[in-house]
Symmetry: D2
């Protein structure tokens, strides 16, 4: 098997761009021949319309270039620099954004609330809220949760509601909930409910709707269900270096995948591949799944020398240190052939020890 | 003439993406099938190599998503929050980035130094340097100049050197010079010298090398000739929300236009169109060029009612208030036919007054 | 005359602390013996009460350590990082705070609006408001004016109203006006009206009420007449490093000078001294007042060699470069004897040329 | 016992200012009569000299207004916005500064490393250093430790060295160590070694030397042993709103307590009081010391109703939630009489249950 193909499990973003995205990009390029910049064009309007249709609500939609920006600008809209944001210790915002949330908020503090499989346990929140020393501590005003989580688990609707229902407590009415949906498509493919049900109807204020991990180019959609959060957001996006001049090319990929449900189809494919890969790996002596496979990744424990031997055969995959596991990610372009080749190599390595 | 075509003079960014960029993007998409993220791929390596070749030096190259980001991150690398950056009052960093430079530097102050046609007069700098009150004032450590300027003028090499030679004065040895090259290609097409001559050999420390205004997708290259400025820049870019996960698609457009000199060809075309358009407009009674046309735009004075009549006929173009003029921009896709149609309409309007 | 005394005209802050301030500090120290921190003590309550009484309104009052902090935190409360603040080019916030306003606002831009003697000309504002490019430019939301100005002029009430009445224009209803009152006492001594008349009744939203320049220790009072601006300000102050743990010692000086009107008496003294000094200097051949003396400083033009000769005799005074003048400041402790000695030396120097 | 006296155990900062500080302040006020601002005066020079003498090295010394500022500006000098700072979860910087460190660093992340009694366990650091994902995570460049800790423990010299010796590992040579010494005097009184031994000779780069908690007015000294960290710090302090115009009044208290060792005497007194109080409380049935009393505070567990009964009798003391204990703090003005009264009330309350 070609070495390039052995790269694929390293990340969602190893995949090429979806063919239908290329087609739509070129359609946007031809028609209109010239277009006004910064979103004042028909392609962007259509993409926004499709996202509103998807969520069955008049949400505010802003395209940005990547997930770090989507998350950081969303948190910026929810907080001031002296505020606190509750997050899971595994969350991307905490571990993989080089302090972008702190930077874009001017200093807001990410505060850990734990729970199984990257999901925040609602019971972990109240003690944290009571812990502050008034004006001497961060004022907690927001919670960010990741759907699907960094270790491939998916929040059920009731689990989301259990978190957002904190707002029913006195003094917490204005708590905002941000969902990092870099893998929202994978989560929805698993949940099988309408996107509205798993977001604003479940109490979510804003969603970072991921594109890049699902076969799009560099484009994520920041969706504000709580429209107050969008006040002056156009300035915030511009100042944050996230306003595309030729926005039609950022919007067209969304048109491509939303028009006919392709976004969900591709995510389902990736999820199925992860299931297959996870099951296969778990069947190998000495390997174990660290988490249930609910989205497009499998987290597997194995001995360091087995991992090394797989690396030596050209397979790319990363340790996920906080979870003490190795991560294998599937994406829209993953093939059964690649999965089989990986499993075969893994079995062969284990067999010789 | 189709209304879409009447949009084209509004900005460089109304144009579609270059055909050769699409081709290269698709080549990058096919080969390799899967690629590692964040720049660790062969396409990005090739784009960096081509930029180093273009500038004949081992500069550090970082791709970012747009010009505001390139400028702001460059200034961030040159300054601390208590520093001052000298700039022309017309500069994009000052007027059109919604305080992105202040934000990304944590508070550095942009301080005006004036000069004709958007070019900084070297004589304006020393008085400004003497004006501070020690630790009570911004410590001036950087100068940003725009090539070509916001009003379509081009710095000659000697003019750049006249600025950077300030470093020969005692106490100013460490002054850094940033060049905002959103329209660097247009400037180079006019100057007709090697890019190295007009940048690092003329004392420039860092260059925002523009892609989007020259027919590329959302990608600008930040080029550090002073390599010290690149220390830890990878973190800065990541934190700033400017690190593309699938970087091959940000790099491929550069491969497309640098491989065979297309970048300069397209800029020359735009410049020639602007010359033709400027000459045509200036020949109309009551219209006057406010600046010599040295790059791809013409700035024209005309009476408000003539401007309104042109707008009424569907032509898009913007007032450029600081220059008290109307701006018409040409780009790689501008056609003689469109120029003729615009001129014809303008002549017809004026003739009837 | 003792060399230490020749330092006094260098600045308001060369003066010692007022005797009544020392007395009140020691009273606060004895009674109560122990006090809760962070403002939850009877001395702070009394100081706040006196300030509210002074302004005849239920304003929100926060003590901070110095004027840069008061100004920057006030502007922070009025702006977001993408906003613009109109200010005079002479203003302390612009020239003498090492970018503190930009830092504390996270990047808001100070934009110049000019006018005579450090006062903003209301006519200069509307063109600046029209100049922006929508979301591409700073959104102007605040104006900061200095009372008395950096060059010793005082806004009349009508002049303040002429500025704040901009809020009557459509779209400007929410414009906020900050007054930098580092020398508010000097201005009030000149104006002779009730403080309420020259502040909130004239449309001012927030005031940095200066203490240090009027004989107090390190304490300024930030007064919000527009109480909405004080929302969560306690956190902002804490995060900004401006919350005193033993606040009674920051509050007591205010009790000392507000209880019996001492604040105004001392400012009047300084103003009278400046009048006398200004008149005296202006009577010397080759010296001219650059601005009318309306507060506690005189700005005088003189030849560099005369200035040098005065420096050689031990007199401290600074050039004020933006005004091309030399600044002489009087304060509560200035004596006629010192003024006479300075004038005598000046006359003697000029006489020998 | 007077109610005011029952406030005293609430915090170090309930105490009045030391008599010798008042004397020195007034001496500074009289001599010289006038002084230049911003530290260019003889009192400030003397205070700096005394601090250098105390530490037996040519450290750089900067006075600021409070501990949050000292800590935040120190961390600002050690980090860039994408860096990480290791700290104990109990540390003041983490729990009690309303995100001031994040704000003043522009976004640096405080990362928890645990250990007993508020002291960082050196073994907890290496795993944290290995955990990052390169440029995707905060780059850890600094450690902040608190001496004495927030729960009244003191690092022995060897414990400090065990931390700083991490710099001997490859790649960690440039790790910086900041000591939050808000209660440095209390720690030194316990350790009984020369301050140099417990700071720079033990590898500390910078120290926030506390004044306010030891009987001074609002003044802390930021001491850079690693002088590189002080580069351009004067601008940083100015921009941060921490430059006192009349600095002699910020410096004089240090002269007062350093000249004859009073700083250590007062801290010893507070420590002895805490010992006595701790022992007394621990002897009461149902009360237990949560940590050894090594500085000036005792952390005691007791049942909520006993705590409430003490509060009802007028005693002020706070729960310290992270340590699940009640905190009682002694200071220079604590008296045996007050301790006895508190113990007596506590015994009486417990006796009646």
């Amino acid at each position: 098997m070609n070495d390039d193909l052995k790269i694929q499990f390293a990340s969602d973003n190893t995949a090429p761009v979806l063919p239908e995205v290329w087609e739509e990009l070129q359609r946007a390029d031809r028609e209109p021949r010239f277009a006004l910049g910064y979103g004042d064009d028909p392609v962007t309007s259509e993409a926004v319309r499709l996202i509103r249709e998807l969520f069955e609500t008049e949400c505010e939609v802003f395209f940005v270039f990547n997930g770090s920006a989507a998350n950081s600008l969303a948190l910026g809209s929810m907080t001031r620099s002296w505020h606190g944001v509750l997050c899971h210790p595994f969350s991307h915002a905490e571990t993989d954004e080089a302090n972008a949330p702190e930077f874009f908020t001017g200093g807001a503090k990410l505060i850990h609330v734990d729970g199984p499989a990257g999901k925040i346990d609602p019971e972990s929140i109240p003690p944290m809220l009571e812990r502050g020393h008034g004006i001497h501590s961060a004022k907690i005003t927001a919670v960010t949760l990741t759907q699907a989580t960094e270790v491939g688990a998916v929040y059920a609707q009731e689990e989301i509601r259990a978190l957002t229902s904190l707002r029913e407590r006195p003094g917490l009415e204005s708590l905002r909930f941000h969902m990092d949906g870099a893998r929202f498509a994978n989560a929805m493919a698993t949940l099988g409910v309408a996107p509205a049900e798993a977001t604003w109807k479940a109490g979510i204020s804003a969603l970072s709707l991921g594109g890049a991990k699902n076969g799009l180019t560099a484009t994520e959609a920041l969706v504000f269900f709580d429209r107050d959060l969008a006040a002056e957001f156009e300035w915030r996006r511009k100042q944050g270096g996230q306003l595309a001049s030729k926005m039609r090319y950022q919007a067209a990929p969304w048109v491509a995948v939303l028009r006919d449900g392709a976004w969900l189809r591709h995510a389902s494919h990736a999820n199925r591949c992860a299931q297959r890969l996870g099951k296969g790996l778990a069947s190998i002596p000495g390997m174990e799944l660290r988490y249930p496979v609910e989205a497009n990744a499998a987290f597997v424990s194995m001995s360091p020398d087995v991992a090394q031997a797989l690396h030596d055969r050209g397979w790319h995959f990363y340790p996920f240190s906080v979870a003490r596991a190795w991560r294998f990610v599937c994406n829209w372009a993953t093939t059964d052939e690649a999965i089989d080749a990986l499993l075969e190599d893994a079995r062969a390595i284990v067999a010789t020890r």
